[in-house]
Symmetry: C2
Subunit: 282 residues, 2 copies
């Protein structure tokens, strides 16, 4: 376990996750240095650890700072939406990655995987957010106090199968299912937008389930799909009955708050394994 005790270089995008990770790392006695990605990570000064704001494209600069700071582990966490080419302004290492991508293979995860490989090439140990915060990843079973009914279980299993099939094509991490019918599929628009749209096509009063899953080939150290309190609230507004997560393959950011809010709103949150006996699953 000694290697886990090295200094963490946290590459921080948007959302709540980076700040929570810093707290968890500090609580376990580990030193953290934050690379705050410009335009994504807001308020890194509130994290209470040293940080440097750098733009995403300046990969050589990021690596340089991590080395100077003596980081041994690198954690990528937080939201980084698709940057425009104009905003990337790559330095030479950034340009090297962009060249590798070429025109054909830029799936959702292609960019992240290449970025991670650069860190490893330079001797850093790529560490998953879930290795720092062990309660971050959804476990199996009914996670809150409310249980799905038979229809909702069936929709959850069907949605998980669909999401995993989607993931094979390196696209999307979620879908919404109502009475066996897929109302929405998540591509680049994000979960909240998919939820809002699906409300337009849902039958009123009969529920529906939001399903989130990682891709079958996904590197768990990179950008696992996540839900938070906002996700629960958006799902409720859209008339959904609950949320089903791939157990071991999705993150719940602020688990306690998520489950409390779900209970207040009468919604279930469950973790499912992909081999749940569903017809669609191999």
């Amino acid at each position: 376990m000694t290697v886990q005790q090295g200094k963490i270089g946290l590459i921080a995008g948007g959302g709540d996750l980076p700040a929570r990770l810093v707290d968890a790392a500090k609580a376990s006695g580990r030193a953290v240095f934050v690379i705050a990605l410009q335009g994504y990570c807001t308020a890194p000064e509130t994290f209470g650890v040293p940080y440097q704001t750098i733009r995403l494209g300046a990969v050589a600069k990021i690596l340089h700072h991590l080395k100077v700071q003596g980081c041994t582990d690198v954690v990528l966490a937080g939201k980084v939406q698709r940057p425009s080419f104009g905003s990337i302004r790559p330095d030479w290492r950034g340009a090297k990655i962009l060249l590798k991508i070429g025109i054909r293979s830029l799936g959702d995860d292609g960019l992240l995987r290449l970025l991670a490989r650069e860190f490893e090439q330079d001797g850093f140990k790529l560490t998953g957010a879930h290795e720092i915060m062990t309660d971050l990843v959804a476990s199996e079973g009914v996670l809150g106090k409310i249980s799905p009914d038979d229809q909702a279980w069936a929709d959850a299993r069907h949605g998980l199968a669909v999401a995993r099939i989607l993931g094979q094509a390196d696209v999307g991490q979620g879908c919404i299912v109502q009475q066996g019918l897929v109302l929405g599929l998540e591509a680049i628009e994000g979960t909240d937008e998919m939820i809002r749209r699906s409300a337009l096509y849902a039958r009123p009063g009969v529920g529906g389930v939001l399903v989130k899953a990682s891709k079958p080939q996904q590197d768990k150290r990179l950008d696992l799909p996540a839900i938070g309190v906002t996700t629960v609230e958006e799902a409720h507004k859209a008339g959904l009955r609950g949320i089903a997560l791939l157990a071991g393959g999705t993150m719940i950011i602020d688990r306690e708050a998520v489950l409390a809010r779900a209970e207040e709103l009468g919604m279930f949150v469950v973790g499912l394994k992909p081999t749940g006996g569903d017809d669609h699953e191999k």
Copy 2:
């Protein structure tokens, strides 16, 4: 070919296709009786053939009229969006179908396949719209006067692979790809809505391709995905460069007008085979 000369019972949904089919059938000397689906098929009185307006759920009534009229072939054509349970008001045959669906297996096509089976059980020959109008189905190659560039070909192939993977889960019939990234996936919202949404996530000025494909297991006699002039115009408004269709598995409604409008707008329309050597295709 004698069996092809029987009287056609056209179960007509919305859009232009039913009227065009009536014209094509008449032109080939075949008699047609139209079941105009209430709420979907507008202005059946303009078709110039006998018709009866009946609601979708009244399956026994539909079958009765087809028999009384002496129809031997049944063609399903036109848009039928997901009906609400309240609006179906099934008669006994309709209820039989709904019972078979159960709670788990209602994919996009589940309902149509079951409906088609009822027609066949009663001795009707299920005929595809493309068997009546042979130029309806997209052929392979560059269909208009404008050719895609390398990036657009790559996006078209990638999109076709993604759409086919999606189809395995009995979901969706389309997607939008820009520089290797899937901007949108079509579930229940329809192609036009997907196109409009994807414009919000596209990089400006670098194109993007709309891809439409039937599902691998799709019965070609039922509801093949279709594009028309409106699709071309929506795609152009969203900044897309062209449209790629699964050759042999999608319909172009009013082919001449579609290709003329595409040319005016500087857009390509191509037909692709699924085994085009793409990495994602088996």
